[in-house]
């Protein structure tokens, strides 16, 4: 398994100047969070080891729009008929923490239908499936970091974490950014949802301001007359620090 070409891999290492990425403190949830029972046996107990940002970390998969088909960003047109529920337009930008747009990056989303039911074999919630709604979408940000989905307002659903536990309506988002360090999977919530204060997953994020960043804004400018409600949600990835010459 030795690689015969490996000795050609090195240029003068003094020329190897790499960016580094901000390390967010207190933004992400702790891996051990008692309110969310499934964390109990799945969180590492040893402290994480600091990984400096070198070549593997400052690069990442740049996935092209060959992955995207015409209906991927419109979840209401993936079947012959229209899905049930409230049609919504969901748009925003992907930025880094310095405010720079993150262009050409893949976004993958999944969600319940209007009744709060996922199309997944392990899902047992006795709410109806919608034959016209899969609840999955993909988009690639444009040169200004913008994305736009058309979908259906997802429903709340019970999840058995504790007595009478209901997840607030949400849409799962998966993003790559431009580097391994920027990879993130998160959930977008809706404003004014009375379940938010009760939800352990939402509230696992320790900082109140950071929690609010997971909630979309209702946007009358994005709302289309006689058609669909609009929501705006910007996603902010870790920023790059200046290139370090060592």
């Amino acid at each position: 398994m030795t690689t015969e070409v490996s000795t050609t891999a090195f240029t003068g290492s003094s020329e190897l100047a790499l960016p580094s990425y901000e390390r967010p403190l207190g933004v992400h949830p702790p891996l051990d969070f008692a309110g969310y029972r499934s964390t109990a046996l799945r969180h590492p107990k040893h402290p994480l080891v600091l990984l400096p940002h070198r070549l593997t970390e400052v690069t990442g998969p740049l996935l092209g729009d060959d992955l995207i088909t015409a209906t991927d960003a419109d979840l209401t047109t993936q079947h012959a008929g229209e899905p049930q529920g409230q049609r919504i337009i969901l748009a925003g930008r992907v930025l880094d923490s310095d405010g720079r747009p993150v262009p050409d990056t893949l976004i993958e989303i999944w969600q319940t239908n209007a009744a709060g039911r996922y199309r997944h074999w392990r899902e047992h919630h006795p709410a109806p499936l919608d034959p016209n709604f899969d609840g999955i979408g993909r988009a690639i940000t444009d040169s200004a970091g913008r994305y736009r989905f058309v979908t259906i307002q997802p429903g709340a659903y019970p999840w058995g974490n504790h007595h009478n536990a209901w997840r607030p309506a949400h849409i799962h988002f998966s993003l790559f950014g431009r580097a391994f360090t920027q990879r993130i999977v998160t959930q977008m919530y809706f404003p004014g949802d009375p379940l938010l204060p009760l939800d352990p997953i939402f509230n696992s994020v320790p900082d109140e301001k950071a929690r609010q960043r997971m909630i979309a804004d209702f946007d009358m400018n994005l709302t289309q007359p006689e058609w669909a409600l609009g929501y705006t949600w910007d996603i902010v990835l870790r920023g790059r620090t200046a290139t370090v010459f060592e």
Partner: protein, 189 residues
Amino acid sequence: MLGITPSQTVGPYFAMRLPWPDGPYVVPEGTPGAITIVGRMYDGAGNVIPDGLVETWQAGPDGRFAHPDDPRGATPGGYYAFRGFGRCPTAPDGSYRIVTLKPGPLPTPDGGIEAPHLDVSVFARGLLDRVVTRLYFPDELTANAADPVLCSISEPARRATLIAVPEPEGELRFDIWLQGERETVFFDV
């Protein structure tokens, strides 16, 4: 400065969207020199995790990345159909499988060398944020011994959790233990 969007768990239903038919194939099966990585994901009680997701990211065999932040750039011509990125959900028995090429060693900005490795992201229900580990190769004893990341792990016995194990059939086994006596080393990236 804008505040960063927090992470949330992938939950139990990510398999609706995230698995791709060709996700486990960083290169097509049968590519000359292809290696197969297999493993299982375990929780702190030793139970397999049937709803996890493994993602890998790595250099090509020449230790380069087809990415604008690799200042050396990719080798012209590169490697046919090599994506660098692999993604595989775990099966009901907790197993996953990735077909790829072995990466080359990498230079570091301070003039050192990193041993060949894959960066590995692990997602699952019950993980509120991804956890990140690294896979190193068992036939790279000298390079592994000098690798700055392996050397930074204070308990030498735990470094072994990052070295894949050769299987009789030629595959490389990399089991991931999220918790427990055999807990894998995870990194703050």
